[in-house]
């Protein structure tokens, strides 16, 4: 366990040294600074008395404080789900291929550490740095908004767990591609394709009407069942923060199961690979 933790820790440090994650952290810090310094909410008996942004009073906010907080949190969660995932995929795609580079993998594998331990440590390190960034923004925003308004809306924190979970699934897919092909670009493309096609596959019923051949229908169904359901989980994130009925959690379980399958495949390939 200590060896897995060592790999995880140094992967985290490696990621921290990258400009992409520093950029992610800076953007998150700017958002938090905006919430902390620029947004002022005055409430009287749970209703908004005034909202000021950069010292100017915003007009037309005749809603409850709770609703305003939830809307801000939903906006942040949605932005983090799309932008944050996009950013995280880009920043972590090279973690696996870099580890497998000639000259690097030689000294790593010569240590008394098993290949599964090495890959698990690497995976957890990548996941940890993304979780750190996600919860830095979500946790920070939640704390600032709650302290300013007195509205402690816990589902916003759950959205952070959901975003991290779907990243874990996509990251497992990237690790699998990274181990098999040792190419960061392919891993990035693969992950973006999942994000891009997920809404289309969700709407596949409408596409069937345009298709004459049944084979295409089967193909779309197959793709739908073999890819993580990022679009539906995005919707789940939004509904969770807005405290709307989430509906079925099947997309989440299905995606997590696929993530497990992707990572198991990555382990299987890595164990058999010659360097």
């Amino acid at each position: 366990m200590s060896k897995i933790w060592a790999v995880c820790y140094y992967t985290f440090r490696e990621s921290l040294a990258r400009k992409t994650f520093i950029g992610f952290f800076v953007v998150s810090s700017i958002v938090l600074a905006l919430l902390l310094l620029a947004l002022n909410v005055d409430a009287v008996d749970g209703a908004l008395a005034s909202v000021t942004l950069f010292g100017k009073e915003a007009q037309g906010f005749e809603i409850e404080v709770r609703k305003l907080v939830i809307n801000i949190e939903a906006g942040l969660a949605t932005a983090l789900f799309t932008g944050g995932l996009f950013f995280s995929i880009f920043a972590t795609a090279s973690l696996t291929p870099n580890m497998l580079d000639k000259g690097n993998i030689d000294w790593l594998l010569a240590k008394p550490i098993s290949r599964p331990q090495l890959l698990v440590g690497r995976y957890l390190g990548g996941l940890l740095i993304v979780a750190f960034n996600v919860f830095y923004l979500i946790g920070g925003a939640w704390l600032i908004l709650s302290l300013k308004t007195g509205i402690w809306h816990a589902p916003f924190l759950i959205s952070g767990v959901l975003i991290t979970a779907i990243f874990a699934v996509i990251f497992a897919f990237m690790v699998m591609l990274g181990v098999a092909l040792q190419n960061s670009a392919v891993a990035i493309m693969g992950a973006y394709l999942i994000l891009f096609f997920s809404p289309m596959l969700f709407q596949r019923d409408r596409i069937y009407a345009l298709l004459s051949n049944k084979i295409y229908q089967w193909l779309l169904d197959g793709l739908y069942f073999l890819t993580p359901r990022t679009f539906e989980i995005g919707d789940l994130v939004r509904k969770t923060v807005l405290a709307e009925p989430a509906g079925s959690l099947n997309p989440l379980w299905h995606s997590l199961l696929l993530g497990g399958l992707f990572f198991s495949s990555a382990l299987w390939i890595f164990r058999r690979k010659n360097f």
Binding site: S2, R13, D101, G103, W107, L109, K111, P112
Partner: protein, 325 residues
Amino acid sequence: MNPIIETQDLARHFSRGRVKALQGVSLSVQPGKIFGLLGPNGAGKTTFIKILLGLQRPDGGAARIFGIPVQDPAARTNVGYLPENHRFPEFLTGGALLDYCGRLSGMRDPDERRRRAEILLKRVNMSDWRDTRTKKYSKGMVQRLGLAQALLHDPQLIFLDEPTDGVDPIGRKEIRDLLMELKQEGKTIFLNSHLLSEVEMICDEVAILHKGKLLRQGTVQELTTSDRRYRLHVHVDDQDLLQQIRDKSAFAEAQNGHLDVVVNGFEPLNEIIDLIRRRQLLIEAIVPHRQTLEESFVQTIQGAGTSDFNTLFSSEEKKSQGAQA
């Protein structure tokens, strides 16, 4: 004494069996020795080391380190490795890299890791660079740090692939001295080097690999001593005498006061000595001829049917290994 490394009929093929990198290599290395693996480009040296370290899986045969099959990570618990052309994470300082390596090697105590790192950095003259990121290191410094990480957990067996590559002559001498010190401490060193003079200086035992086959294995003394060739320090000007000597030997040549003869056994050698003494010539010395390791190596490879010596010691090895991989 049980061998520290033992392989039996080790085989490794590439390109669906068309390239035979290793063909039934069986060798053993005894503890406490410096063992040199020699061979021309594409001989299979790196493949052999990679199998021993679990980086590649053999297609046939078996390999054990400390009696443990090499597929088991436990076999590498007491092993240090300096790979050729290694790359360390550039975001780490030398000190942090050693800490990482120590943790991967199972050193749980941070104080012990720090203590060993200090000792090793001092030993490879890198103490002043401990807190500098490795991306600022020169090639020679990366090599020294590589050596330090290989020795950090005080392993009993150390694999070194071209350890003096990129190191200046003084640094090479220091590394050689360090290897001799390690030997004094009872460590076993498995050395893969193209520098035959270096191998000759420090190795106790050598194996020559060619086209995936083990051609010779023995002590440096055994490989460099020819039991049929002698140099007699004597002035022979008489062509008639020289012809008589040639009749009794496989080869005889006189020049600059030396007579080089190749004989089949001691009897013809004594007959030649009798011939010379009958002419009242004074024999100052009879010295068994000793080849350099390089001469022995070339002779062995030539004997195996290689004629293209331009391919030896060139950068082509990397290309061929790349193609194999």
